[in-house]
């Protein structure tokens, strides 16, 4: 038993605990909270996409809310206009968001760094007016209402629980997807492209392909998340996708930890529950907290909450190893050997 | 001759990477001291620790005063001039602006004027290029400009980090002649970090050899020239 395996065990235990906590939510909380947790899960998927792009690939996007909206509207439109089954709309939502991601991602290759922040910011600002303008398709300010899916006969639980399970599945899929993607070669290419153009190219990484793929994947995931959100919420309108939504996703990504998968959940929970909780006290409080959190995080905890936890774990591990080492040394000196 | 710079137990590094493990050396007035060593030995780190770009521990005595606790700009005020690796000039600024920056600490208009005149004499081509961006000058010219810039305030010690890097041999010769002249005519204390040991040992009075952040050899230039280890490692003989 050494420090590294302790750490792995702790991590595994953490994941198991998290999975367990997620599974028992419907049993523990009233229906409305279950609905909010469902929304949080969809946000977590969008944040995961952002982590992939910003954390692992170093491209900044302040427009995740736009891709989210595109996915949501796609689902809404296909469900209401074409009567399509809600599950079938999801791949289409991913597709439309990905196409938009491609359209933005290609010029984005020349806009690395600050200009990309500007452009995506501009996109986020442009989103709602565009949704209003395209009224024939989007129904403008009225928005689109959908009938939430019926609970299948083989499922034991009410609609909120069913939808929650759906989102949980969606998140699990996304988490697995990102987890696989960031291990091994793809992960290395992503990080190389993020850290240094020179190193990446010397490793044979096609910078263009990797960056573009990251951008498209990020927006595709946002589309998936948006589609799920539309299904869970039963209603889409420009109101739900203001510029602030993109800021929310950014905050969620940063707070959770820009390269953390479980962090996306933490960030999502924050952006779902904080505004309500804060608004009870003062309408400006959530803004203050967001602002303070972003600034403070950059100052002291750039890797977010999960980063802090990770640092703690490492520190703990180092201490365990150190105490072990002294113990063994002491025992050697005194002629004894203690098995641990 | 009095010591302008005395360094005791200098320790410095980058984050958790320790580069210098406690080195001692000194530079006297009108002396050219060479700092030799392979890449990564700690030569550049030493200069950066001396000028204050990176934090360091130990004692850095300039004319007897310990400046280790001073910020880089305060050390420049005290008389430490550092020409960093690369071109040492402010590349996006004009020649005139570079000199003006060098003269930043001079408040006396007359002093600035006389300094500019001095350098116009040494480098007649400077006047013609006053409004050109420094980045458009040749490597050698930029190095000369960097020297002029560094010496506008008549510092106590001039530290040069691999000034010959990327320069043609003849240009290096001119540059080193200039340094030699400064040492002789103006009694400048010069600390010269170089990889080009052969040329450097020709103008240096004394030299130190640093390896893996520790001082390995010290002696007069003549001694080091004759040292078989040096010949093998740095002079390829």
């Amino acid at each position: 038993m050494n420090g590294a395996s302790i750490e792995t065990m702790l991590r595994a235990a953490g994941c198991a605990a998290l999975a367990f906590a997620l599974l028992i939510v419907p049993a523990m909380f009233p229906d409305f909270l279950v609905y909010q947790f469902s929304v949080a899960l969809t946000y977590a998927i969008a944040i995961l996409g952002l982590n992939l792009l910003m954390g692992f690939n170093g491209q900044i996007s302040v427009a995740q809310g736009v891709f989210f909206a595109v996915g949501a509207y796609t689902t809404a439109i296909f469900m209401t206009r074409y009567g399509m089954n809600y599950l079938l709309t999801l791949p289409i939502a991913v597709l439309t968001a990905s196409i938009l991601g491609l359209l933005v991602g290609i010029p984005a290759l020349r806009w690395q760094g600050l200009p990309l922040a500007f452009i995506t910011f501009g996109l986020a600002v442009l989103g709602p007016p565009l949704a209003l303008k395209l009224e024939p398709i989007t129904k403008g300010a009225t928005g689109i209402s959908m009938i939430k899916p019926a609970v299948p006969s083989w499922f034991s639980g009410n609609q909120d629980t069913f939808l929650y399970t759906l989102c949980l599945l969606g998140f699990a899929l996304s988490a697995l997807f990102v987890w696989r993607l960031t291990r091994g070669d793809t992960g290395r290419s992503l990080r190389a492209a993020r850290d240094s153009d020179l190193i990446a190219e010397s490793l044979g990484v096609n910078l263009t392909k990797v960056r573009l793929a990251a951008f498209v994947t990020c927006s595709g995931m946002a589309g998936f998340a948006g589609g799920l959100f539309a299904i869970v919420n039963g209603f889409v309108s420009p109101e739900s996708f203001q510029m602030t939504k993109s800021f929310d996703f950014l905050v969620g990504s940063i707070v959770g930890g820009i390269t953390s998968i479980s962090g996306s959940l933490i960030g999502a929970l924050l952006i779902v529950f904080l505004p309500d909780w804060a608004a009870d006290m003062n309408i400006a409080l959530s803004g203050l907290i967001y602002g303070a959190v972003l600034v403070v995080m950059m100052l002291i905890a750039r890797d977010g909450v999960m980063g802090l936890l990770s640092t703690l774990l490492t520190a703990l591990r180092t201490r365990i190893i150190a105490t072990r080492a002294t113990a063994t040394a002491d025992d050697r000196l005194s002629g004894r050997r203690i098995q641990i | 001759m009095t010591a302008v710079l005395q360094v005791h137990g200098l320790r410095a590094g980058y984050g958790s990477i320790r580069v210098l493990h406690g080195i001692d050396f000194e530079v006297k007035e009108a002396e050219i001291v060479a700092f030799l060593g392979a890449n990564g030995a700690g030569k550049t780190t030493t200069l950066r620790a001396l000028s204050g770009i990176i934090p360091a521990r130990g004692a850095i005595l300039l004319d007897g005063h310990d400046v280790i606790a001073m910020s880089a700009d305060k050390r420049a005020q005290r008389g430490i001039a550092h020409i960093p690796q690369g071109r040492g000039t402010f590349v996006d600024f004009t020649v005139a602006e570079n000199l003006a920056l060098g003269a930043y600490l001079l408040r006396d208009k007359a002093a600035i004027r006389s300094a500019l005149d001095y350098w116009d004499d040494i480098f007649p081509w400077l006047a013609a290029r006053r409004n050109q961006p420094a980045g458009s000058l040749s490597g050698g010219e930029q190095q000369m400009l960097a020297v002029a810039r560094a010496l506008m305030t008549k510092p106590r010690i001039l530290m040069c980090d691999e000034p010959s890097l990327g320069l043609a041999p003849t240009t290096t010769q001119s540059l080193f002649s200039l340094l030699d002249r400064l040492s002789n005519e103006r009694g400048m204390a010069i600390l010269l970090v170089e990889q080009n040991a052969r040329l450097t040992l020709k103008i240096a009075h004394r030299a130190y050899v640093i390896e893996s952040g520790e001082m390995k050899l010290a002696g007069s230039a003549a001694e080091l020239r004759d040292n078989p280890l040096i010949r093998q490692a740095y002079l390829g003989a």
């Binding site: 910003m54 501009g122 800021f247 967001y290 303070a292 959190v293 600034v295 100052l299 | 700009d73 920056l101």
Partner: protein, 307 residues
């Protein structure tokens, strides 16, 4: 292309409307240019793009408004708050930006977004969301020349901007301290070697930019009405203006702002699809185009914003 042929191209028989729209565009462009000036100033002086400049300026405007509400003469409140803004800008730099100076572009962006959200929230906290009327700086006067209406306010804003630009450019080009500020921004590591106290220069830059930002807010508030998100809609235009003009050119910020304003006004009036609904797409499009065609902007010297 002459104005006449351009007009024919877009099927505009009404030259008066066209010219009026240009004047309107100049008016809104002046607003964008004001904020762009503060943004470029901060960039010039510290190599940071402060997204939150508009929000900090709005907060300053609230201070001035409040002082005035409490009975202080308007001109006095302007002077006092200009000084307060300077201190506020310097403090923000010292406490928040300085620790993250060496960090990546993305970290800086996130901090500035945090400031953006935070400052707006502060204004919201103390003064609520309702818009307030802000005292006019320029008299309420207008001239009509050839059927086109020019207000004293528009001309006043433009004149103030020109004065500011000339003054700041002179500061940067001809003074010792301006040179030191530019050097501190461009060569943060080398500048201390010539004795420049870099952090003090950066603080100075932020203080100055905060004051300029406040002036911009004071110029804008009478028309837009003072409210916490007053500058939010202006930010995207200002970013486009600065990008268009070139991030290292103060004059470019002004020209950029005016161009953005005129383009927006013309597109909104003459291109049906855009209209007033999508006019925020104009700065977006302009920004995208200039970043692809000429990333350093019209007056910029080099690709100042690199990855």
């Amino acid at each position: 292309m002459t104005i006449r042929s351009f007009a024919k191209l877009t099927l505009v028989p009404d030259m008066q409307l066209f010219l009026q729209q240009i004047v309107e565009g100049l008016a809104s462009g002046a607003i964008y240019a004001s904020l762009a000036l503060a943004l470029v100033l901060i960039y010039r002086a510290t190599r940071i793009v402060n997204f939150a400049q508009g929000e900090m300026a709005t907060l300053s405007a609230y201070f001035a408004w409040q002082l005035n509400q409490w009975g202080m003469p308007f001109w006095l409140s302007l002077i006092i708050v200009a000084a307060v803004s300077f201190v506020m800008g310097a403090l923000v730099f010292r406490l928040i930006m300085r620790p993250v100076l060496g960090a990546s572009d993305n970290t800086m962006v996130v901090v500035c977004i945090g400031l953006f959200v935070g400052f707006e929230a502060v204004a919201l906290w103390f003064w609520g969301a309702d818009p307030h009327a802000f005292p006019r700086i320029f008299p309420d006067y207008a001239w009509t020349i050839g059927g086109v209406r020019l207000t004293a306010n528009n001309l006043g804003i433009l004149a103030t901007l020109c004065l500011l630009t000339v003054g700041l450019s002179a500061l940067f080009r001809y003074t010792r301290i301006g040179l030191a500020m530019r050097a501190s921004a461009a060569e943060r590591e080398k500048s201390p070697l010539v004795g420049i106290p870099v952090e003090n220069m950066l603080m100075l830059g932020w203080g100055l930019a905060a004051t300029v930002g406040f002036i911009a807010a004071a110029l804008i508030a009478p028309s837009l009405f003072l409210s916490p998100p007053m500058m939010v809609s202006v930010v995207i235009y200002a970013l486009a203006a600065a990008t268009l003009g070139g991030w290292d050119s103060l004059a470019g910020a002004i020209v950029g702002g005016l161009v953005v304003g005129i383009a927006e006004s013309l597109c909104a009036t003459f291109i049906g699809f855009i209209g007033t609904d999508l006019k925020v797409g104009v700065p977006f499009a302009l920004m995208a185009i200039i970043l692809l065609a000429r990333p350093q902007g019209l007056f910029g010297t080099s690709a100042v914003i690199r990855a």
